[in-house]
Each structure stands twice: as C-alpha cells, then as structure tokens.
C-alpha cells in the first residue's frame, strides 16, 4: 500500500484534526454511498505481482517471432545508457517544471530536445512534445486552421491511416472538412489535381508525409510548396519515422512550414503503442499558435542563465476556452529518452543508423522480389519499409508466415482495400541478413500461390 502510517500516527493525527475516526473524515450522504463492494484485484505481494506479469508476458508471444512490422512504431536498438539516465528518480518523479528554480535540469533537457527537433526538421522552433504522431498532426492542422480562418484540410492518402483517422476524430469536434489527395503508381502523393483544389481557397493546409505510409520518400517536388503557400494555404509535413530525418532532406527544405511527427524511434520502447512521443516544429511565423509547452532561455536576478516555461499565455490554464489547445500533459519523459538517445548516438551514430535502415530495407526488397510472384508495389526510393505485392491475399500470406514464427509485416488491405495483396515490410538496423533469409525461405514455401485471388 506504500502508506507509512502506524496506528499511533493515525490516532495522534485524528486528535489534532478533532475527529474520532478515519470514517468520520470520509462520510458521504446515503444517496451516494457505495451500493456494492468494488471488485478490484486481490492484494498481492511483490513476488506474486511479478509472477502475475510473468504469466501475462508468457501469453504475449510476439517477441518470439521474427518481425518485419513497422508502420508507425519501429524496432530500433536502444543503448542501455538511455534507460540508465531516464530511470533516475529526479527525472522520473518530477512534475511539469512550473517551479523553474528547482527544475533547471529538466528545463535544460527540454530546451535541448526542442533544439534537436528544430535542427532535424530544419524549422525555427519546436515544442516540448505532444502525445504522439497522430495527435501532432491534428494539432498541426488546428494551427493552420487558426492561421487561415479556413475549415478545410487536404490530406494525402499516403499519410498513415491511423493519423488520418485521428484527424477525422478531431475534425468532428472542430467541424472541419477533411478531403484526400490520392496516391499514384510510384507510391507518392498524386498532385495532378492539386491546382484545382487550391483554387477553391477553402483549405487551411495541405498535408503530406515523407517517408509516407508505403515507406516511399514523398517530399513535395520543387516549386509545389511555393505554389501552395501562394494561395495562403499552410504546408504541413508529417514524419512518422523520426530516424529518417537523420538521412533525408529536412521537411523545411521541401517547403513544410509545420512539421508534425513521431519520435518513438529515438530511444523509446514500442510498448504495444505507447507512450510514444509526438513533436511539432514550425516556422517563427506560427510560433504563437504552437500548442503545449515551450521552454525558453532567460536569466535570473543575478544574470545567470536560467530556463523557464514561456509563452504560457497561449496555454489552457490561462486562456481556458481561448487556448490554442487543451493540451496539458506532454510526453516530457519520452522526450527526455529521445534527447539522451540522440546525444549518445551523436551525428555520426544517427547518420550511420539511418544508413543501416536503408541498406537493410534494400536488401529485404532485393531478396524478396527475387522470388517468383513477389514484387515491389511502388517504384520510388524508400527509407526503411517497402510495400511488397504478394501472390494471393496479404492476410493469407501473413497467416502462413505466422505459422513459421514470422510476423511478415502489415496487411495494407486493412486500410486500403485495393492493396489487399500488399504487405508493408519493415527492416531496421535490428533486422539481420539471417532474418531476411528466414523470411524469403518461408515465403518461397508458402502454398498460397494456388489460392490466388479470384
């Protein structure tokens, strides 16, 4: 129970308060009294708790499979130094650093995180983090809506389907219209109808993701961002795999004014989907519309460098219904893990890691597409995942692979009915040549070719 009270303590304290018993402190009217005993868990010792979770772990067998899953949550090597630092109690058990004088360390770490994200995205400023990539996109769109006064959003269909689904959830509340741009045969966003759409002057933002959900580099071609901005529409770039930022041209370089992304790949566990860590970076023009917390550098009374939460008047606890967002909690501890990770990897290590991801994915594509009936669905260059067209239905192929202890990737048909013969396969620095060989061996033996689609 983690309560230190002895019976004598309780008695002495009750005397000071002037009541007879603990029950006198918590008496409630009959109308709201507990009607039935609550059914929670039994009370267990630590040994028993560990035993319970050992059993939960045994029933969670995913770790015993060779995995090619990615699609927004990525398996990367995390040096033990990240956990060793992040688990320090001062970092783990502090609250939001409102009392800056006793939070200088955490505030500086977040200032460093903001700097890392700004440098990686090429944009001017970044916030102290948001919940995850999908909510970062929703918040980025709200920024654009507030900047333009328009209530439409034009989103590439090659943006992660979960992100688009979350955007639709938010759009229902904000009463926004979400329209989509199709993807082309190269796997990139098809921009052929963009001009006509922009002419309507009703979109607050155009949203593209790079690398997109098919793993394809989908940066806007030269001149397009300028064209979009000339209609006073905001360009939002989404990055679901932050590792790509260490290698690919930055979102700012291809015209993004707001970048919404996910940095789980930097030192955070996949953990069945959370907590991960979203980020928002933007040009200075959008600074006042950035949601959530921002750490700024200032000085104390003696002129010493000091860090402090700043521009707080944007936030919910002051602006209430006029706030830029209702965000209160951020993902500070995940952002801290990411910051320690980036510091430990360094420029050299991050670039090398990104290159390994590309190399392993190239190897995966080459070996898999050498098999009869397997081909890359899209032509464009990819970062660490690739959409593979398989003979038969993707979900049948995946089920066969599971029998051989392989999680072959994501069935794209789950989100794109027209791609139900495609598997999104991911390879990272943790994917070995032996893993790829196991996959290709298993694929070559699968009897689904006979059961090809009708």
């Amino acid at each position: 129970m983690y309560t230190p009270h002895t019976a004598q303590d309780i008695e002495a304290m009750l005397r000071v308060i002037g009541v007879e018993s603990l029950d006198d402190l918590v008496r409630v009217p009959d109308a709201v009294a507990l009607r039935a005993p609550v059914e929670v868990t039994p009370r267990l010792s630590e040994i028993e708790i560990a035993d319970r979770f050992r059993r939960h772990a045994e029933r969670t067998t995913a770790g015993s499979y060779t995995s090619f899953l990615g699609a927004g949550a990525y398996r990367h090597y995390v040096p033990p130094v990240v956990g060793a630092i992040a688990m320090r109690g001062e970092f783990l058990t502090s609250y939001t650093p409102y009392q800056a004088e006793v939070s200088q360390g955490y505030l500086q770490a977040i200032y460093e995180w903001q700097t890392y994200i700004a440098l990686l995205t090429g944009l001017d400023v970044a916030n102290a983090s948001v919940y995850d990539g999908a909510t970062a996109l929703a918040e980025g769109v709200i920024m654009a809506v507030n900047a333009t006064g328009r209530k439409g959003v034009l989103v590439s269909k090659a943006v992660h389907p979960n992100y688009r689904a979350v955007l639709r959830t938010y759009a229902e509340g904000l009463e926004l219209d979400v329209d989509e741009l199709p993807y082309g045969n190269d796997g990139r966003t098809d921009l052929s109808n963009l001009e006509a759409a922009l002419a309507e002057q009703r979109y607050a933002a155009v949203v593209v993701q790079s690398p997109n959900v098919f793993g394809v580099v989908d940066a806007l071609p030269e001149g397009v961002a300028q064209r979009i901005k000339s209609t006073k529409t905001v360009v939002i770039g989404v990055v679901a795999e932050a590792m790509s930022l260490a290698a690919l041209a930055s979102p700012a370089s291809w015209g993004a004014e707001i970048c919404a992304g996910e940095a789980q790949s930097f030192g955070n566990a996949i953990a069945y989907g959370g907590p991960h860590v979203g980020f928002i970076a933007a040009t200075t023009e959008h600074l006042r519309r950035i949601p959530g917390r921002l750490v700024g550098k200032s000085v104390d009374g003696a002129g010493r460098t000091a860090y402090v939460l700043t521009l707080q008047a944007r936030e919910q606890h002051i602006r209430r219904e006029k706030a830029t967002s209702n965000i209160c909690t951020n993902q500070a501890h995940c952002a801290l893990c990411a910051t320690v990770y980036m510091a430990a990897m360094g420029k050299t290590g991050l670039r090398n890691c990104a290159a390994l991801n590309v190399a392993r994915t190239n190897e995966l594509r080459e070996k898999v597409t050498r098999l009869d009936g397997f081909a890359a669905r899209f032509g464009g260059p990819t970062f660490n995942e690739v959409a593979i067209r398989v003979p038969g239905r993707a979900r049948d192929v995946l089920a066969e692979l599971e029998k051989q202890q392989i999680l072959g990737g994501l069935d794209l048909g789950r989100f794109y009915p027209e791609l139900d013969d495609c598997i999104l396969m991911t390879a990272t620095e943790l994917t070995s040549s032996a893993d790829v060989d196991r996959l290709t061996a298993a694929l070559s033996e699968i009897p689904v070719r006979a059961a090809a689609r009708v």
């Binding site: 006042r288 521009l311 707080q312 008047a313 002051i318 602006r319 006029k322």
Partner: protein, 128 residues
C-alpha cells in the same frame, strides 16, 4: 495615480479612443497596462477586418495572464501598430503614444456617445 489624459474618450473595459474625423485610434489605458504588468504580446485584428462595437477582437498577454480587447468602437480596421510585434513593452512605456493598438474607420459616429469622458473614467477607476 493612473494617467487619464484629457481629449480622449474611454471605455469601461479600459480602452481609450482618440478621434480624428471619422477615424479612431484605439489603445489601452495607463491604468490597464499597470494592472496587467509586463505586457509580452498583443494580438491585433487584421487590416480590413470589420469590428462590432464592444466585441472581443484580440488579446493582450502579460507573462501569466491574458485579457481580451473589447473594441470601444466598431467599423473597419484601417491600420495596426506593427511595432508592437517586436516591442510589446511600448504598451507599458507609453500607452497613449507609441503603444497604440489599431485605427478604425468608424461605421457610425453616434457610437462614441456610449463612451466615457476622462472625468467619468477617472471616477470608474477610483471606485475599482
């Protein structure tokens, strides 16, 4: 004691209005800037925007507070004080001069009848 210059009109929400023909210049009073403390940002309407008298049309931010700007006059915005973007402190320093907010082409001259004289405004803040 807060400075309440003669020759201006005032609103109950602590804005001042200076009339020049049918164009009104608007800002916040010395009393308002002193109560808000260090002003760090002023969000102004856009040039060309149409304002309704006493509507909320922007905000003034101090370090830890935000106050609405309720426009004391309605009409079309014909100018804003760009200088506040980089120097919001001007509002604290010189609320009736350098720290002005925006200019409005009055929709209807009679609306100034609903504003306070310097004497009435002085009485209002004396009672606060």
């Amino acid at each position: 004691m807060a400075n309440v210059p003669a020759g201006l009109l005032y609103s109950k929400e602590h804005e001042w209005v200076k009339l020049d023909g049918d164009v009104a210049t608007v800002g916040i009073t010395d009393y308002a800037q002193a109560s808000l403390g260090d002003i760090v940002y002023v969000e102004l309407p856009r040039v060309g925007a149409g304002l309704t008298q006493f509507g909320s049309i922007g905000v003034v931010e101090s370090v830890k507070a935000v106050s609405d700007i309720f426009t004391p006059v309605g009409g079309e915005v014909v100018g804003i004080n760009d200088g506040l973007e980089n120097d919001p402190a001007a509002v604290n320093r010189d609320p009736y001069g350098e720290g002005w907010f925006y200019k409005v082409q009055l929709a209807d001259a009679s609306q100034t009848g609903e504003l306070l004289s310097p004497e009435q405004y002085e009485q209002l803040i004396a009672e606060a």
